[in-house]
């Protein structure tokens, strides 16, 4: 009788640990997926080929061949930069004088969109951001005059500039000139 009850208890605990293992694996996967996908975005072959580490890059307009990031919008012209704050602040500047929608969005290493500035908010003024990590407050004397301090939750992250391009062929010159005002540079290289 005792042996039987000990055996039953043993099987119960074995079943329980299997269940807990499955649950932990499930939760860990859910937690890790956005971070792993972002790691591919930040360090993958597309990032390498566009050479966008602390540097703005200007991919061509979206087509059916654009397969680096899911759900690309064919109506937007994207510009990108992988920022890396491990060596210090990164300065982001842009002055796109464009008649339609544009925005600059920042994403942390877990994929959260923690900052966005669009054309209406910019109200015709240039965007000038001084991007710093959450671990260290910037010395005020380092922040360039007029720049806005933005704290990134992670040391690395992604900048995505969207420019509305309903008719890229017709407006190509204006759109390209506008988006190519984007600068994304480590403070040490300024």
């Amino acid at each position: 009788m005792t042996n039987r009850s000990t055996n039953q208890r043993l099987w119960f605990y074995r079943g329980l640990t299997l269940l807990v293992t499955a649950l932990l694996a499930h939760l860990l996967t859910i937690w890790a997926v956005p971070r792993l996908i972002m790691r591919v975005v930040l360090q993958g072959s597309a990032a390498q080929s566009l050479n966008m580490h602390n540097q703005a890059a200007f991919p061509p307009p979206v087509t059916a061949k654009s397969r680096a990031i899911v759900m690309p919008s064919p109506d937007l012209l994207y510009s990108v930069c992988v920022y890396d704050l491990s060596e210090g602040a990164v300065r982001v500047q842009a002055a796109p004088q464009l008649p339609n929608y544009w925005s600059i969005a920042l994403y942390s290493a877990n994929s959260d969109n923690f900052f966005v500035r669009n054309d209406r908010q910019a109200a015709g003024k240039p965007v000038d951001l001084w991007l710093v990590p959450s671990s260290g407050a910037p010395a005020q004397n380092q922040v360039p005059a007029g720049a806005e301090v933005v704290v990134s939750p992670s040391k690395t992250g992604f900048l995505l500039m969207r420019v509305l391009a309903s008719d890229y062929q017709t407006d190509q010159a204006v759109l390209e000139a506008g988006r190519r005002t984007l600068r994304c540079q480590a403070a040490g290289t300024l």
Binding site: T21, H26, L27, M38, V62, N118, S166
Partner: protein
Amino acid sequence: MTSSKASNGKRWLIGALLYLGAVALGVGSALLVLKKAPWLNPSVQVGPWRVNLHAGSVDADMYTRASVAVNGLLALGRDETMYFIAAYDDGGQALRSNCNYRIQGSAPAARWWSITAYADDMFLFDAPNGHYSLNGDIAKRSAEGRFDFTSGPTEQPDSYWLPTPGKRGMVLTLRLYNPEPALQAAPQSLQAPHITRIGECQ
């Protein structure tokens, strides 16, 4: 002695296999949830369209964050952009690229909008005419201000056509840039575009 060792080894092997199975079950169920129920998370249904209220937000729970990373990476928060996704037509049938659909609606309360067709891998169809989406700038409207276009394998007469070659699942994404505050606060107030199947699927 040898038989006891063999029996112990067998027990360890079964134990290891059971734990590996548990890990596979955990990982597999997570991926299944993210792929097959992408908009399972806090969302609002308006007609055939579903919008996730926390997409792109720092307030997103871990399921929403992971689901958005898999199905719509680098989304913006709803004060900037709202993404309404339709995976079914008005009749409740799953959208298929080998079926023709008519999409009709009124311009949503936003600064700018577009509707894009994506294959079930969330990338664009290889449209031979280069039409991947319809947006508010190019949509022709009726006297009542309504737009109307079609998607599918066959071009319909007098219609802006989004080709969807192949035989696979698909979704339509309605993007609203700078939506009006009232719509942000009450996404269910959207006058949802209708998605109606035309004839039989090919």
